[in-house]
């Protein structure tokens, strides 16, 4: 069994977006998704610091300090882009206008609770940014994360032990081992890395998984 690479995960997420989708890609792993957007579809990227129609990183000589993404990296603006202030930008999320957001996570619970902003460690310096707004705002909240912690524990859990970002907000989880939907009846595996048996995935994961929706990937 060879785990999905970060790029494979990103490509897998990118395939989900239909033509015309409005998408916000969170800081970290989700930013890789931008490199895999299908060329035959127009996917409009939102960055919560105030831009719709975000394009790729500029060439070094075109870097503009006034044109950055939520991770404070330089980006470009595509034809059709628009700029707006923070209340309008977060109104777009909170008001349910974004079709998808993709977020990293420390943990996701079986009921779609998300923990991704704070370890809760007493000496940790907290920072939340737009994570909580995105978690409750987008119509579909996708999480991209490794399936297991470095210590081998499942990041998919019965109940998050880290402080929550949002309650019942995650709709689909993309890990390096599987793609899993959060449904009213529990977690349903829809894809699994080649060479990994469902039983083994279940063993590695902390909570019950259903295989009813599972399709072997092509």
């Amino acid at each position: 069994m060879k785990k999905f690479s970060r790029e494979e995960m990103a490509a897998r997420v990118a395939r989900e977006f239909p033509d015309g989708a409005y998408v916000n890609l969170g800081i970290g792993l989700p930013t890789l998704v931008a490199n895999h957007l299908p060329l035959d579809r127009e996917i409009i990227l939102h960055t919560e610091n105030g831009l719709l129609g975000m394009g790729p990183a500029p060439e070094a000589e075109d870097v503009d300090p006034d044109l950055i993404n939520a991770g404070k990296q330089p980006v470009t603006a595509l034809p059709g882009a628009s700029f707006f202030h923070q209340a309008d930008s977060f109104g777009m999320m909170r008001g349910g206008h974004l079709d998808f957001c993709v977020l990293g996570a420390f943990q996701v619970s079986a009921t779609g609770d998300l923990a991704n902003w704070h370890t809760g460690a007493p000496d940790a310096i907290p920072a939340v940014g737009g994570a909580m707004d995105l978690a409750i705002g987008a119509r579909n909240v996708y999480v991209m994360m490794e399936h297991l912690t470095k210590g081998g524990e499942s990041k998919i859990v019965a109940r998050c032990t880290y402080p929550l970002t949002g309650v019942g907000c995650v709709s689909r989880i993309f890990t390096d081992l599987a793609v899993i939907d959060v449904t009213p009846r529990g977690l349903a595996v829809i894809d699994i890395v080649p060479g990994l048996a469902f039983g083994e995935l279940q063993r590695l994961t902390g909570v019950p998984l259903s295989r009813e929706s599972l399709q072997r990937q092509p």
């Binding site: 033509d19 015309g20 409005y22 127009e42 409009i44 939102h46 719709l52 129609g53 603006a77 034809p79 059709g80 882009a81 628009s82 700029f83 707006f84 209340a87 977060f90 109104g91 777009m92 999320m93 909170r94 008001g95 349910g96 206008h97 974004l98 705002g137």
Partner: protein, 219 residues
């Protein structure tokens, strides 16, 4: 490829249904989407709730929709005008329900719907007839009334320039309710003077980003 252009106002409103809530932009006739309202009259949908600052002028636009008795209820700030005879007649016959809302609360309630705000405390209207029965609260020594968002199925608005992504600019005081209503409806249809190639609108000057617009009609 994203292309929000629709062939006609009638096509843009084909899936309007009886009983829907429809926002109609404009302050008087400035920003009033006349072609879209005419299409709504032709469409024939009944039992509508209309959200609009005014209740129609003379024998045009919204006034004709009222005259045709398609409107069960209207949410507006200033129905009475010198030429609002169709509204006046229905109102006196009790053939239309009126929710009168101060103009700023109307604007803010529409914005709240678009921005996902559950409710907000407004000082406007406190201790007046228009706040009767509403929850109030004193905050920092000032009195407020709790106001709820107004959502809609459709918003019909008028803008100036657009591109195929649905980005919009407006013209002068015709901007009024357009950007707010665009954000508050499941399906926003914009009547625009010109649809430009993508990239022709300066991104600094776009007032309504295309995310809020589903359909464009050149008119």
């Amino acid at each position: 490829m994203i292309d929000k252009r629709v062939a006609s106002a009638d096509a843009a409103l084909a899936d309007v249904a009886d009983g829907m809530t429809i926002m109609v932009g404009g302050f008087g006739t400035a920003g009033m989407p006349a072609e879209l309202i005419d299409a709504l009259v032709r469409h024939g949908a009944r039992d509508l709730t209309i959200v609009s600052n005014n209740a129609g002028n003379a024998d045009t636009g919204l006034a004709l929709l009222l005259k045709a008795r398609r409107v069960r209820r209207i949410i507006c700030s200033f129905p009475r005008q010198t030429d609002s005879w169709h509204f006046d007649k229905l109102y006196k016959e009790k053939a239309i329900e009126l929710e009168l809302v101060p103009q700023g609360n109307l604007a803010e309630r529409i914005r709240a719907a678009g921005a996902g705000i559950g409710a907000f405390f407004s000082p406007t209207g406190y201790a007046t007839l228009l706040a009767e029965g509403k929850e109030t609260r004193e905050i920092g020594g000032r009195h407020y009334v709790l106001e709820y968002p107004i959502h809609a199925d459709f918003a019909l608005i008028k803008a100036e320039r657009a591109d195929r992504w649905g980005n919009l600019t407006y013209r002068k005081t015709a901007r009024n309710f357009g950007p707010l209503m665009a954000s508050a409806a499941r399906c926003t249809v914009a009547q625009v003077r010109a649809i430009e190639p993508l990239g022709a609108l300066d991104p600094e000057t776009i007032v309504t980003p295309g995310i809020f617009v589903k359909r464009l009609v050149a008119a």
